[in-house]
Symmetry: C2
Subunit: 324 residues, 2 copies
C-alpha cells in the first residue's frame, strides 16, 4: 500500500503535469491561484486509497482523483461568492482578488475540467460509470448548498434536516470519492456501495465533530477561531440539539443570544454555559461516535484483505478521533 | 425525415417528461423559470437533424438534444449575471427575479443536469465520445465568454480575434450539437467532423449577420432595438472592419462617437453614415456569405443521401439568408 505522503506527492505531480492552458489568462489564472492556496487534498487521496484496496497501479486513478479535487475547488470558488467570504486559507478569495464575474466563469470552467479529467479514466464502461457517480454527487452538493442557504433564514430547522444538509453539502463527495476509486479499480457494486456509505457516514461524523470543535476545540490545534459559530449565530448541531432537548427557559435564552451581534459581551461563555448545563458536548460527541462507528462497519464489510485497508482506515481514524 | 415543428414538439415532450426535481424549490424553480421563457430550441433541433442524417429512431437522441439546451440555458443564466442584464426575452432575468447567488447555484446544477441527460445516450463508447465533445465545446464557450469580457476594456481588438471570440462563444456549440447528433447516430469520424465544421462556420456567419442586422435590419423583423449595438458602443464586426479599412479621419470620428453615451444626439445616424461611406454593409455581407458558403460545402461533403439533408439544409438556410 502507498503511504498518504506518497499519494499526496503523486497528486501534486499529476496536477503539475496536467496544468490549465495559459490562455485566456483571465479565465485560468484564478483556477491556478485557488489550487495553489493548498488544502489537504483529502478527497483525491481518499479516492486513491479506495483504488488501492483492489489494485496496485494507483497512477491509473490519478485523473479521477484530480477531477474530485477540481470539483471541490469549483464549489469553494462559487460558495465564497455566495458567502461573500473575503478570505480563503488566509488569502483573498478569487472574487475579492479579481471580481465576482471572474469567480463565476473560472469556477464554471474548473467544473468542466473536472469532467474532462474524469473521462480519461479506465475503459468506456468504467468512464461512464464514473461520470454517473460524479453527476449524482455533484447534484447532491448543489442541493446541500441550497439547503444551507435556506437554513440561514429559517427558524424551524430540525436536527434530521441539518444532518441531511451536511450529508449533501459535504459527506456525499467523500463517499463519492471512495466509490469512484473503487469503480475505477473494477470493484464489485457491493464493495463500491460499502465504500460510498463509509465515506458518507464518516463525512457526517466529521462535520458534527467540526461543530463540536468550533466551540470546544483546543485553540492551539483548531484552525479557526474557537467560538466563531456562536458569534455568527450559526445553527450548528449543538444549537439544534439544545433546541430539541433543553427546557423552555434555556431554549429562550439561546434564542435571545442568537439575536445579538458578534459584539455582545460575554456571548461565547453564556452560550457555552447553556450547552454545558444541558450536557450537549457529551450528547453531540455520542452522535459523532455513532456515525463514525457505523461508517467503519461499512469499511469492515469491504471484501479485500485487511492489510490493504490499513492506509485508508488510519487516515479516516486520524480525521475522526481528535483530541478536544 | 422529421419536420422542424415535429422535432420541436418531441423536444418539448422530452423536457416535460424529464423535469427537474421539485425540491429544493429554491434551486430548481429558477431552472424551470428560465426554460419556460422559451427560445427557439435551435441547438437541440440541430442535434436531432444531424442524427436523422444517419438514423430514423430520432427519439434515441433526445437526451443529448436536451443536454445541449440545458447547457445553453446554463450559459444564459451565468452570462446574464456577468452582464448585469435585467431582462431576458422580455422577462426578469433569474438573478433579478431572485438574486445573483441563486443564478450562480441554479446555473451550476443546470450544467450538471446537462451531463446527466447526455450520459444516458447510446452505448458506453458513444456516451463517452459525447461527453468528450461536450467537454471540449463547453470549455470553448467559457474561453469565448472570457475573450468577450476582455474585449470590453481593450482598444486594439483585431477582426481575426473578434471572429475567434464569436466562434468560441457561439459557433462551437452549434458545431458541437451537430457533431454530437452525428456521433449519437454512429456516424463516421469524417462525417461528424464535417458536421462540426458546418455548424461552426454557420455559427460565425450567423453572428456576423446578427451584427449587420443590429444596425441595418428591418425594425419590424429584427427582435431587438435597431442601432442598439451603436448606442452601447459595442465592438461589432462593422466597427472593427471600419477601423481596419477606413481613412484616419473616419476612424477618428468613429472613435469619438464610441466615447459618447447612448444619449448623444444623432449617434446612430452618424455612425451609420461612417459605415455607409466606407461600404461596410456590403463588405460585411460578403464576409457573412463567405462563411455561409464554406459552411455548406461541409454539409455537401457528408456521406448520406441528399434527401436526408433537406430538413437540416433548409433550417440553416432559413437562419442565414434573411431579408435586410
Amino acid at each position: 500500500m502507498t503511504s498518504l505522503p506518497t499519494l499526496l506527492s503523486r497528486i501534486t505531480e499529476y496536477s503539475a503535469t496536467h496544468p490549465f492552458p495559459d490562455s485566456p489568462p483571465g479565465l485560468y489564472e484564478p483556477c491556478d491561484y485557488l489550487l495553489a492556496l493548498g488544502g489537504k487534498r483529502l478527497r483525491p487521496a481518499l479516492l486513491l486509497m479506495a483504488y488501492e484496496l483492489f489494485r496496485d497501479d494507483v497512477d491509473a486513478a490519478l485523473p479521477a482523483a484530480w477531477a474530485v479535487e477540481l470539483f471541490h475547488n469549483f464549489t469553494l470558488m462559487h460558495d465564497d461568492i455566495m458567502d461573500a467570504a473575503p478570505l480563503r486559507r488566509g488569502q483573498p478569495t478569487v472574487h475579492t482578488r479579481w471580481n465576482p464575474n471572474t469567480g463565476i466563469l473560472s469556477g464554471d470552467v474548473m467544473l468542466i475540467y473536472a469532467y474532462r479529467h474524469l473521462l480519461s479514466v479506465g475503459d468506456d464502461a468504467a468512464a461512464r460509470a464514473l461520470v454517473g457517480v460524479f453527476n449524482r454527487v455533484a447534484i447532491g452538493v448543489c442541493e446541500g448548498q441550497q439547503m444551507d442557504v435556506n437554513f440561514e433564514t429559517r427558524d424551524d430547522v430540525s436536527l434530521p434536516e441539518y444532518v441531511r444538509m451536511i450529508e449533501l453539502k459535504t459527506a456525499v463527495l467523500l463517499g463519492g470519492a471512495l466509490e469512484m476509486g473503487a469503480l475505477a479499480a473494477g470493484a464489485s457494486g457491493s464493495d463500491a456501495g460499502h465504500l460510498y456509505e463509509f465515506g458518507r457516514l464518516a463525512g457526517i461524523s466529521f462535520q458534527i465533530q467540526d461543530d463540536l470543535l468550533d466551540t470546544y476545540g483546543d485553540p492551539a490545534k483548531f484552525g479557526k477561531q474557537v467560538g466563531g459559530d456562536i458569534l455568527q449565530n450559526k445553527k450548528t448541531f449543538l444549537v439544534l440539539k439544545t433546541l430539541e432537548i433543553a427546557a423552555p427557559a434555556d431554549q429562550s435564552e439561546l434564542h435571545r443570544w442568537m439575536q445579538t451581534g458578534a459584539d455582545a459581551p460575554g456571548k461565547v461563555d453564556a452560550v457555552r454555559a447553556i450547552f454545558d448545563r444541558n450536557n450537549i458536548p457529551a450528547l453531540v460527541a455520542a452522535e459523532q461516535a455513532r456515525f463514525r462507528e457505523e461508517a467503519f462497519r461499512h469499511l469492515d464489510a469491504v471484501q479485500t484483505p485487511e492489510s490493504r485497508k490499513t492506509v485508508l482506515r488510519e487516515a479516516v481514524e486520524e480525521l475522526l478521533v481528535r483530541q478536544f
